[in-house]
Symmetry: C2
Subunit: 470 residues, 2 copies
């Protein structure tokens, strides 16, 4: 038993490692001939600060900036901020940034009995990601996978490739420094199970799209709207260029925040952000733990569970075959032979059911957890951006105390810092709402599928049992 | 996956080996102070021939005799026949044995539409083996386990120890050379799970008792009746000595067979015995295979299955604990925390159910298979005893052909050989009846318990699901 303990233990950790380490580049990646545009150039218009490394992201580091080096999707831009640039965050706090904010970019924060929240979505919509199709271009010389997106507000289908999602994701991360962008599916080599892989990726993209659609800010952003509605290739390229040249990104985007007038209580704010930080840290561990469990159980269902049930099936079937040798002996022996063989078939079928089951329960739960894993991994950087703003504000308070800054100017600094804090509080609230409702839905679905699975087993066994009662 | 394949594979074969090799002496064995009698002395009244070793038991070896060296129960008597003794079988065939057969010892064989059968049991009865009790003797200085037996025909309870069963088994094997005696449970060291071990041994003894009670000859034998009815210690010792001195044992017992007058068609007989031999060989393999599967599944239920479900339970429970950290955030979060934690508890409970389940399905099925394994292992020797009789008969036919034996004497030889053949055919028929009805009952019970098990899982999961619907 100890022997087996170790094996299962080792196997799990091996599986987990494999899972974690499979972060190969999507082989579609370098193929951008469809749009003809080179990857966006390194940003240099001074929006971001030096990158905050993961290990220091929860320390008192006063940098106002955000590392994009989380997970696979950001890897390409690992060195995007390697050149030191003037702090756009500090400029924003000091009120020296002058950019016109069009009404369409403004986002509103309100405070009501639920707390500080983003102005709620008034016209909720969804966007279906349909089963992917293989498309061709250059008169069939090149083929690629395209996913069909259909928003519920116009029912007009658009076709997007994974690399378009990737481009979109980059834009969203660049623009919304205070919002953890839901992650895309990991880049993986599709391998031999291509069909299953593509189907699963479709589900993961659907989870990403759903998460964006539920977000009061992201779901109304122009780059997202462009992504889910543009059908014309010329307009697509125009919108693409416009998004890449957007000035209201990173700390500049703070200008778009329309926050309540009330001054935020700094003690309460600290309590809230620290609670958030602790919660994010704990939930991150729990999510990773449950994801590892999900991956592990999936492998066990497809490996040992399936194999064990089929071994049982084989043993019964062989037993039935022997009984068939001397059917003339003993009354009712013929039907008994059949019954035993069918019992063998039943366990063999149950083995197959175990193999197929994870697609219905563990995999969808894993997809939800993947979204939260990405969101949770983005939170520390967001909290650091916020801390940087508070740090700048404290510096200004000292200047004011030393009479080196006007009280009226300090009031403006406070207002702008509060806008950042309001945005963070609204985002924390949105996150808690999401984790409550989405985890509940996912767990319910998981359990419903588990119930259905074991009911199917009961049904199969009951059917096998009737053969012994004839 | 290959890695895991190997592990499970290795584990199984290891388990099987362990199971097969655990044939330690029962530690009760040497304690015979209760009856005060030494083990029975080596038999020397010429009843048996030289032992037939296992490897040669299906060859054309003409010996009329039967090795008792099958499995654990006979090990003690391994060298019982080491001294060459005059063939009682040959004497019987030649008609030179003169022993008076009391009416109570006579067994009748009839031939009807079912074929050649032992005269059926007219007053069927059962004998319950009750939960074992610890008893003491020598004023509490010695303690031992005693099983309570209660036959349904008199409802008088008798108390028997394992060593009494062992003594009985020896008597039955000695007396009935043409009947495969159902095996006793293996002698095993009880170890630390003593209570479970004793309870299981009780079930195995019940299976042995049931099998004897269903046998038309064994269930009416005087030694068996003595065993299940004698309550008086003095009479017990008398009956014990009488059974040990019984002359109608082995080949002498053939005198007790009252067979039909019809002469047996030798071609048909050969077909039947060869079919039996083939079937026994095949079923022996299938039974051992399914038993190994049963042992393996039992270990898997108590080891990896339990562990895996409890790992899942732990992952959900931990997840729920994290959700409890920030219950004030997000409506319905408190009940969600509870629901997730209870989901964790549910899988933990299902893990425990997996651990307990084999006692209800695989173990009872294994007990039935154990009985058949013992019976099947005895068949080759029985077929060899029969072949020895046919061989002697052929010798007599040659003598008659050469005018060295009277035709009338040959007729008597044929009649006596046919009595042995009739007994074998009756026993083969009984065996087929048994394997059909008992395997059917066992499989049905197994399946009913499996259905109940998975229904319980469904119920548990459904109950956990309601918590997410509040």
């Amino acid at each position: 038993d100890n022997f087996s303990d170790q094996d299962w233990g080792n196997q799990q950790s091996t599986n987990t490692q494999n899972y974690e380490s499979v972060e190969y580049w999507d082989d579609e990646w370098d193929d951008d001939s469809e749009t003809g545009a080179p990857p966006p150039p390194p940003l240099s218009h001074g929006v971001h600060l030096v990158p905050v490394t993961k290990s220091s992201s929860l320390t008192d580091d006063c940098a106002i900036g955000r590392s994009d080096s989380k997970g696979t999707v950001g890897r390409r831009n690992l060195n995007r901020f390697s050149t030191f640039v003037k702090s756009a965050g500090e400029s924003y706090i000091m009120g020296t940034v002058k950019i016109n904010v069009p009404d369409s970019d403004k986002v509103f924060i309100i405070e009501n009995e639920l707390g500080v929240i983003w102005s709620p979505i008034t016209q909720p919509y969804e966007c279906m990601v349909a089963s992917p199709k293989k498309e061709t271009k250059l008169k069939g010389l090149k083929s690629f996978i395209a996913y069909q997106l259909t928003p519920t507000f116009n029912h007009i289908q658009v076709s997007r490739r994974y690399k378009h999602f990737d481009w979109l994701h980059e834009r969203l991360e660049e623009k919304f420094n205070l919002i953890p962008i839901p992650p895309l599916p990991d880049k993986q080599i599709s391998g031999r199970y291509e069909e299953q892989f593509i189907e699963h990726r479709k589900n993961q993209l659907q989870a990403f799209v759903d998460s964006v659609c539920r977000h009061p800010v992201l779901s109304r952003s122009s780059v997202w709207e462009h992504f889910i509605t543009c059908t014309d290739e010329k307009r697509w390229k125009q919108g693409k260029r416009k998004a890449e040249k957007d000035e209201l990104v990173g700390a500049h985007y703070f200008l778009a925040i329309q926050a309540p007038e009330n001054i935020i209580n700094q003690y309460q704010l600290e309590q809230d952000t620290e609670a958030c930080s602790r919660f994010v840290h704990s939930m991150d561990g729990a999510v990773k733990n449950l994801m590892a469990c999900s991956v592990d159980q999936t492998k066990k269902h497809q490996g040992p569970y399936k194999r064990e049930y089929q071994k049982v099936g084989q043993a019964f079937y062989n037993f039935g075959q022997v009984f068939g040798m001397e059917e003339s002996k003993g009354s009712s022996s013929t039907s008994l032979t059949t019954a035993i063989k069918e019992l063998g078939d039943t366990y063999n079928d149950i083995g197959k059911m175990f193999e197929e089951q994870p697609k219905l329960d563990w995999e969808p739960l894993g997809d939800t957890l993947h979204i939260f894993k990405g969101i949770l991994s983005a939170f520390p950087d967001i909290l650091t951006v916020h801390k940087g703003a508070l740090q700048k504000r404290k510096e200004c308070e000292k200047l004011t105390f030393d009479h080196k800054m006007e009280a009226s100017q300090m009031q403006e600094v406070t207002k702008r810092t509060d806008a950042v804090s309001y945005a963070l509080l609204a985002e924390i609230n949105h996150f808690h709402k999401e984790r409550t409702s989405e985890i509940k839905i996912s767990m319910k679905r998981f359990l419903q599928e588990q119930v259905r699975f074991y009911k199917n087993i009961v049904e199969k066994l009951e059917s096998a049992l009737t053969k012994f009662e004839e």
